[in-house]
């Protein structure tokens, strides 16, 4: 049974300017422990798709499921990482990572242990008592990642998580995410507009198109793991795939 599954999904927003169709005829499956990226031009509805899987919105038509069950509301078992980090500014780094565990009722001693472990993993052990306001963008997103992984989610939903970072920090966090994923093999649905990022990280890339907002193509990514960004990105195979996706997206502009 796929970890995430959507079928015949249509999402229409009512606005003052009339109805806007954000998604139409969408079908997508993400297998257990699979890393799938969704790429597409802005406005193609890729973030809406992620929000449907998060349970933050309901489809106008069709089914959105996790492990065969209809998704009706948000749950830490489908933890999210956001483009603008969305950290709780009134909580310290430690408090942010602990938030989900507190809500799940994890006992304090275990909570403490897991939080410290994750802070160690993302390299923020020395900043446990800092407030988000005091951190750089890259550090904030490491907190966002630790907060999501600390609840031990079945699925990780990532909404352009590195989109707000500078190129160097982005490359660094991508490689950290690759290592982390080798280690955890959590199911990931990753939304981005960066083709190279999608090819570097995923097992499969879903290309979405604009107007109407739909899925144009699914591309299997054959590269061996573990992957290393700089080496991989210069291979002819990678360049070929990049060209293919780029061409698909160009036709959609």
């Amino acid at each position: 049974m796929p970890a995430l599954h959507a079928e015949g999904v249509r999402k229409v927003y009512e606005s003052d300017a009339g109805a806007v169709t954000a998604l139409d005829g969408i079908g997508i499956s993400v297998a257990d422990r699979e890393f799938v990226s969704v790429v597409g031009p802005s406005g193609c509805g890729k973030t809406t798709l992620l929000r449907l899987f998060a349970g933050l919105e309901q489809p106008t038509e069709g089914r959105v499921e996790t492990d065969g069950e209809r998704i009706e509301s948000p749950s830490p078992s489908r933890a999210m990482v956001f483009q603008s980090f969305n950290l709780f500014e009134w909580r310290t780094v430690r408090g942010n990572v602990a938030f989900g565990l507190e809500r799940l009722g994890v006992p304090e001693s275990e909570r403490r242990e897991r939080v410290e472990e994750w802070l160690e993993t993302v390299g923020l052990a020395g900043f446990a008592d800092a407030y988000p306001e005091e951190l750089s963008g890259g550090m904030r997103q490491r907190v966002g990642l630790a907060r999501a992984l600390a609840v031990d989610p079945d699925v990780l939903l990532m909404d352009e998580p590195f989109g707000a970072l500078d190129a160097q920090t982005r490359a660094l966090l991508q490689s950290e995410l690759l290592d982390l994923w080798e280690d955890q093999r959590t199911t990931v649905l990753f939304v981005t507009h960066d083709i190279e990022e999608a090819l570097l990280l995923s097992d499969r890339v879903v290309v979405m198109g604009n107007d109407p907002n739909r899925i144009v193509k699914r591309v299997d990514v054959p590269f061996e793991r573990p992957r290393h960004g700089r080496e991989l990105q210069t291979t002819t195979e990678f360049v070929k795939h990049r060209q293919e996706v780029w061409q698909l997206l160009r036709n959609e502009q």
Binding site: P74, N86, F88, E89, E134
Partner: protein, 250 residues
């Protein structure tokens, strides 16, 4: 001393110098600051301020405490619930724009000139400002923050307790700060009306053309209000420390 403090002191010094110069130029039309400060020192040494302080502070405290006890929950309710907002908005906004000073003759008719009168005046001066500041603070909590709370398992009462309430705490403090300034105003206006406390001092000095002393009382009231604001800010630093951190590691 850092640059901010230096600039702050320079601002105060410029104001003081301007006042002093203007006093000298107008030849007593405006009492120079030095004369006001001397008069102030006289008042303090003669103990003339003790009686008004004793008279005013307890009423100020009771009126303000009541305004906080009513204004904060009403503001929170208005911010959290559309129904509460619809119910309370018109009355609260109407009273917010009403000049409380114009109600004084009416209030004195109802409450007499005793402690009840001051408490009500202070309360009315502060409560609507507190409620509306808190309300807009709660309304200002972003959808993203709320959604993030929901994604990580906060729902129902937990969403209020663990997300909305802490996220709006800085605005609650802003309401308290505004409220304290309004409360001091209310106290002075009430006292001017019934010739009591600081009000009676101001009236007396004015009557006998002791402008230096009257202005010294004004300065004392300014210092009082500023001190109370500082107190609220100290509470903020203690209970909402994240509002004052910035620029650590970037």
């Amino acid at each position: 001393m850092d640059a901010v403090h230096r600039h702050r002191l320079a601002g105060i010094a410029a104001l003081a110098l301007g006042w002093e110069l203007l006093g000298a130029l107008t030849d007593g039309g405006l009492v120079p600051l030095s004369a006001v400060l001397l008069a102030g020192a006289d008042l303090v040494l003669a103990g003339e301020l003790l009686e008004p302080l004793r008279h005013s502070l307890s009423k100020l405290a009771v009126g303000y405490a009541l305004a906080v006890a009513v204004g904060v929950p009403v503001g929170l309710a208005m911010g959290f619930s559309r129904t509460a907002d619809a119910l309370a908005e018109t009355p609260v906004r109407t009273l917010f724009v009403t000049s409380v000073a114009s109600l004084l003759p009416l209030l004195i008719g109802v409450f007499g000139a005793g402690i009840g009168f001051y408490v009500v005046v202070v309360f009315l001066f502060a409560v609507f400002h507190i409620a509306l500041t808190v309300r807009s603070g709660v309304r200002g909590v972003s959808d993203e923050t709320i959604e993030t709370g929901r994604v990580f398992g906060a729902s129902g009462v937990g969403l209020y307790r663990h997300v909305l309430l802490p996220a709006s705490l800085p605005h609650v403090v802003a309401g308290l700060r505004l409220g304290v300034v309004r409360a001091v105003k209310g106290m002075v206006v009430g006292e001017l009306w019934v010739y009591a406390g600081f009000g009676s001092l101001l009236h007396n000095y004015q009557r006998y053309s002791q402008t230096d002393r009257a202005l010294a009382v004004v300065l004392v009231l300014m210092v009082l209000a500023a001190g109370l604001v500082r107190l609220v800010e100290a509470l903020e630093e203690r209970y909402a420390p994240w509002t004052s951190v910035e620029g650590g590691v970037r």
